[in-house]
């Protein structure tokens, strides 16, 4: 599943990031690379995604975030 499908409070691990070179460098340099654990803080209709990863709260454009594949972490 992709990142935008996570519900509030769900935890997951990033397994794959697609996209052009620019997107990859932006997303990985803020710390979201393969293997990174993230938690969805807020996923609402009219706002960017808000996730927590690497000790940081990060806002992400929703359309672009469809390129981030995640696996829900087993509790």
């Amino acid at each position: 599943m992709n990142l935008t499908e996570l519900k509030n409070g769900q935890k997951a691990v990033i397994v794959k990031v697609d996209g052009d070179r620019r997107y990859l460098s932006r997303i990985t340099s803020i710390g979201l690379n393969v293997g990174c654990k993230v938690e969805m803080l807020q996923n609402v209709k009219s706002k960017p995604l808000l996730i927590y990863g690497r000790d940081t709260m990060i806002a992400l454009n929703k359309e672009e975030s469809k390129r981030i594949q995640v696996e829900v972490a087993q509790a």
Binding site: R21, L24, S25, S29, M57
Partner: protein
Amino acid sequence: MTNKTIALLGQPNSGKSSIFNSLTGMHQHVGNWPGKTVEKKEGTFEHNGVSYTIADLPGSYSLSANSDEEIVTRDYIVKKDVDMVCVLADSSQLERSLYMLADFAGLKTPVMLALTMSDVAKTKGKDIDTKALSKKLGIEVCSVIAYDKKTFEPLYKAIEDTINYGQILNADELYNTLASSDIAPEYEAAIDIATGLADDRRSAEWIASKILEEDELVLRELKIKNIDKVPVSSDCAVKVSNARFAWIDSVISDSVTNSKKPSELLSKFDKKAIAPVTGTLISIGMMVIALIGSMVVALPFMGLGGSIPSILNPLVDLLSSSLGVSETICHFIKSTLVTSLGWVISMVGFIFGMSFVFGILEEAGYMARVSYVFDRFMGKLGLQGKAIMPMVMGLGCTMGSISGAKVIDSYGQKILTIAVAWAVPCGATFVVIPTLATSFFGATGGMLVMLLIFAIMFLHIIVTAKIFGRKLNPVEKRTGIVMELPPYHKPRWGFVCKNSLMRMWDVFKKAFSMELIVCVIFYFLSYSSTGIEGSALYKIGVAIEPVSRFFGMGWQTFMSFFAAMISKEAVLGVLSAIFANSGSILDSTTGLAAASDNVAQLVAAAIPKAEALAFIIAVTFNVPCLQAVTATYNETHSAKWTATIGGYYICTALILAAIVYHIAAIFM
């Protein structure tokens, strides 16, 4: 005295600007990088008899080359005459913020690491062993608290040592990881061709890692040297970044201890501050508070600025009576030197207020929330979400919105925000225009005119954003938001206040001379010994009346339109000078002569309604005032952009007036 050059490098929110301000104080120079829309910030300081030039490089999360800002940074740190680089990392988010250093690994410019916000890290239960880090990395590592100059001693020492011994970051482990990873074949192939580009400052390993990331600059270099690039699979870039994070993990594993469990991720306030509805409401509330707050801070200065003429003019008169200086010269001094001094004092007061309030909000970490909440809305204009703050400030005073635009971190977007913010009618417009509109069109008509103004404002904002956006933030370069929302910090009032004062003084020095020159020019344009008809301005106005008629304005309204570029209040003053004979054009514009009380009625009787409407629209969307122009120049450091924006607004105001006039003439 020897001079050494330092480059300051760090991610957004790493405290880079604060360190830069603390190190350099008043000795800063801000300009543009030649040929690029990128801000250049340099400063100097002295320590132990050595003078240092330090460059505050545009902040980004890594050393990629995706924007002009990043390209400037990349070029700068490998320049031969840079003595060292100081990389900053936020101790409270060490893992993520060390990515900049990991991306630097492989460059051979001497480097040191300064860990900021160690106080925040401590409250989070993080303890960092700088000695162990230093040993592992092979470079100087120190802790520093940006707002506390007392903690700077280790930083100075680390700078001295780095320059004296030229320590280079030990990157072997990172590149060994790459060489033994599953992209090793690609890496080896990249190394082979990278050797052709390697130089004193860039190792073949570093260039190879950039080849794997398909870095635009490096690929271009390869092309110039006619070296064929290696085929790279699309996940190489991700794997390189994985290797960097693995390296960071191994670097900090022995040096950082975590004694506290992470606290609740979202504080109660933050839950509200980012929620769709309450977040918007809180943002609007914050804007109102910010507007009132900055007004309160600015008020004493504005009061002082406003009373400058009444304080200094009697002194100038004394000059005339005691020293026999002629009245003409006294009047010249009053309408140029005294007037511009008064204006500049009010202006810097406003800039101080804005810097202070926005500085506090930025320091506290709240601005990033505004960016998040308004991302979609402002994104449609090609602007960052937080650009909403300065734009709303524009309803109070355009100077406020311009100096508030400093919170926009990309230079191109900052100019774009300023260009768009000019279209927001300011407080003075809301005083002048309703007076005029009501006397022409009655209470109901006046309301309709105000509605028309708001409708045009929205249209103007959209069109202006589109026109200026084409160059400043091209659609094809626009990217979705990928932004960190920093944790809230307790703002340091004294530190923000000191920085705002420094900024105020800096603006004062530059703005005073500029406004003085314009006042002198306006003095000669409007000077007349025989009443209004004697001035150059009148002659020009009458001469071009056939042209200005096309835009719906006769010479009287056109002169007033012209004076409105100096100050909005001049609109009524100049009309009053013409129709009520209340004083000269000059005195009415500079405020030496008050507008007649019944000026609006007199004008209403003398000017046809269609012309009046065209005039009202033209004045509202004209260049806001001389101070707005000066503030724009101060904020953009670019005469070219200031002139472009100014020229654009004069043209659009005239076009709007022409449209309104010709439509209105059909009905009125």
